[in-house]
């Protein structure tokens, strides 16, 4: 039995957004990306009118690059791993709504500009300060347990799902968001990175820092990589408190 589905897509540019529907025939293995590719090849909407191809962001299509974030039926996720099949729920027709993220500046159709997330990585100094690339022997030894913890945090692909899901992120909010907080934790946990712990924590003690988290815990729910974001925020919160006490008593940062 032939199955069909409707993609209801929020399209357009800032202040000029509208829904357009596309009717597609289901083929096994189809996902949101292959559906958008079909529209691109033959941009005709449900009413049979010729339209422009829908634009979206994509990259690896293996859920490691973080490009293809979308709202699918209102839920922030990667569209490459979003298969069409489950939406039928035993019926012969399904309707799926696609929309761009709302917490970032809209460019067009499903594409938003997530530059801010990368700028935030600068604020938390999300790197290890090495002396240079020149040969200076091996790095510090790391136990398998610590490596495991670092690796999980380091799989963050800056996709923005956590930011989109966070209720604290509103137009007026300066909140840096869960991803950057978790990156601060990552580099503070690294043996060399920990030497600059205070430089990562201090900016997070200000407005827009860890104190702005409202503890809704949505970030953890929507993270496609299951990164323990709420745990990261709690840890950074504790570090911030300790740093505040050290700073209040003007203690040196040598014991980190």
């Amino acid at each position: 039995m032939k199955r069909t589905y409707t993609l209801k897509i929020l399209r357009g540019t800032p202040k000029n957004q509208y829904f357009e529907e596309f009717e597609l025939e289901f083929s096994p293995g189809a996902n949101i990306i292959s559906a958008l590719m079909d529209i691109q090849k033959n941009p005709v909407n449900k009413k049979g009118e010729k339209t422009t191809p829908v634009v979206w962001e994509q990259g690896c299509l293996e859920e490691v690059c973080g490009s293809c974030s979308l709202l699918v039926d209102g839920f922030p996720r990667q569209s490459c791993t979003c298969l069409i099949e489950p939406f039928f729920e035993g019926k012969n027709h399904a309707t799926i709504t696609l929309a761009p993220f709302t917490k970032f500046p809209l460019i067009r159709d499903l594409v938003v500009d997530r530059t801010q997330m990368f700028e935030n990585l600068k604020k938390v100094r999300a790197w290890v300060d090495i002396d240079g690339s020149f040969e200076q022997g091996e790095g510090p030894k790391v136990s398998p347990d610590v490596q495991e913890a670092l690796y999980v945090l380091s799989t963050c692909m800056t996709c923005g799902c956590c930011t989109e899901g966070c209720p604290q992120m509103t137009g007026s909010s300066k909140f840096i968001g869960p991803a950057a907080l978790s990156q601060a934790r990552l580099f503070n946990a690294h043996p060399t990175g920990s030497m600059k712990k205070d430089e990562r924590i201090r900016p997070l003690m200000e407005e827009g820092g860890v104190g702005d988290c409202g503890n809704a815990q949505n970030c953890k729910e929507v993270c496609p990589k299951n990164i323990p974001l709420t745990e990261s925020i709690a840890l950074i919160g504790r570090e911030a408190t300790k740093q505040a006490i050290r700073d209040f008593f003007s203690l040196s940062d040598t014991k980190k």
Partner: protein
Amino acid sequence: MAEKRKEVIVVGGGLAGLACAMKLAENGCFVKLVCLTKVRRSHSVCAQGGINIAVNKKGEDDSPTIHAYDTLKGGDFLANQPPVLEMCLAGPSILNMLDRAGCPFNRTPEGNIDFRRFGGTLYHRTAFCGASTGQQLLYTLDEQVRRYETKGLVEKYENHEFLRLVLDKDNITRGIVMHDVYNLDLQVLKADAVVIATGGCGVIFKKSTNSTFCTGAANGRIYKQGMKYANGEFIQIHPTAIPGQDKLRLISESSRGEGGRVWVYGDSSKTITFPDGSEKPCGQTGEPWYFLEEMYPGYGNLVPRDIGAREVLRICELGLGIDGQMQVYLDVSHLPRVKHHKLEAVLDIYEKFTGDDPRKLPMKIFPAVHYTMGGGWVDWPAADDKDRKERFRQMTNLKGCFNIGESDYQFHGANRLGANSLLSCIFSGLVAGKEAPLYIDSLDQKSEDIDEAIFEKAYNSEKKIQEKLLTNTGKENVHLLADELAEYLIKYVTVKRNNEGLKKTLEKIKELRERYKNIELDDKGKTLNQTYVFAHQFDAMLELALVITKGALLRDEFRGSHFKEGYSDRDDDKFLKTTIAEYEPEEPKISYEDIDIRHFDPVKRNYVVAKKVKPEVKNFPKNWEPLL
């Protein structure tokens, strides 16, 4: 007066581009980093299994020399030997640098970096981060480059696409023209050197394991401007990918490195020719038949990729694929939990896309277009060459234009060994980061002293192309043309080639090139017009398709990934040579260049027996200097 900072444009923000940008910044250059996407989303993230570095930490008596030999042998001796040897010698320092910069490599119980086994070698020399090593390495370098960005040494132009080089009257590179993908604004960037690090061209075949931006367009555009393109016909087919509607997703070779086995149900009524020439039955009927292990007892499931892909295809053509289809099993279900954990990233992806848990059921896989061994021709004055200081490593035949990473041709010969790509990307990036400033020192005139008319002319050429493409009318749809191109390339220019099919493909591409003149875009606006961006790329993709196909047609032998019916052997007399393609409007002009085999004598590849050899390096470079 203080000398002005040297300015270098790096095009591409994958591993090679970032390694180069980091090194340039460290050397005091000012880097303009141009990238089609956010650098952190570059295709390097897709590399899964690991990075080969021979540090001999497993008590196996491994060495960079053996690594170089394995690499050359895996590439069927088509690579020039001096750059390969130097790459392997630099490996240990590169690993130390990445380790210090915080790349989360898997660890041994003692806290040292762990190593796994990969294809085409008998040694454990592959360092890894779970099964997303490329992503982790990319992030590590991205972080270092961001650090230099905050110091004002790197300026990023993300979501910008390279369109052409600005060449002066002496054909010296003086800058680039690019457009902003968000609004198609054209812009000229000036610099005294340009480094191209734009990756492979898998998307020419439409479905591949490559990211959707790996069209090869940048290389194709520069080729049209006069860059020599080398070894185009060598395209790697990876034996194990998941078939998909939108792309073919890679299942890492590390799944076999950790003990995964490839099999189909046997059928003793059928026979197949073994590598030694004997005819043997295809296993026992109804029993799992581990055909790679039987055919290649020495390397088993870890034969080089070209061999693995060809055998999988042969098995399927005999009708032994799963349910008679073009699929075989890749089984990791028997492995212990700790191994599953090391492979988690790939196993999760398989489960997300197929719904089957590979920890319980064998995976169904098939070969897919994976890696571009060919690329921009680049120079390599060897350490002992008399003119070492007069020429520049990784520089193309266009002065001032360097090429690194997957977009160059230098390190993998006729077939790349698994886990060598990450090393070659970082190595060539670091090399270009050292050579580009030396090149700039050698210049008499800097880009700011060049007549402005040169830049205006380049800008206007692009302006014209843009106007034409946006207003062109006709009945052709560029996406459908791309489908037709891919259909021919997949059928005639992948695992098994024949001259008749290659000729047909060559004619087809020329036909498509004519029809391309009649395309009309479904979107004629300027705001994030992806149809336009692709249509512009497709012009360059067609030219590279011609290079790939014609190179394959003229190479009448069997070498590495290039297998042609009727030519069962490697022909060193005629074809131990690099293929060089130069642009001509009708079709590429092909010539050949001798290969530098100063370090090892080419031998016939044999993966049937496992024998650890201690290859002797002839003419070890006396003037070799460490890279880092």
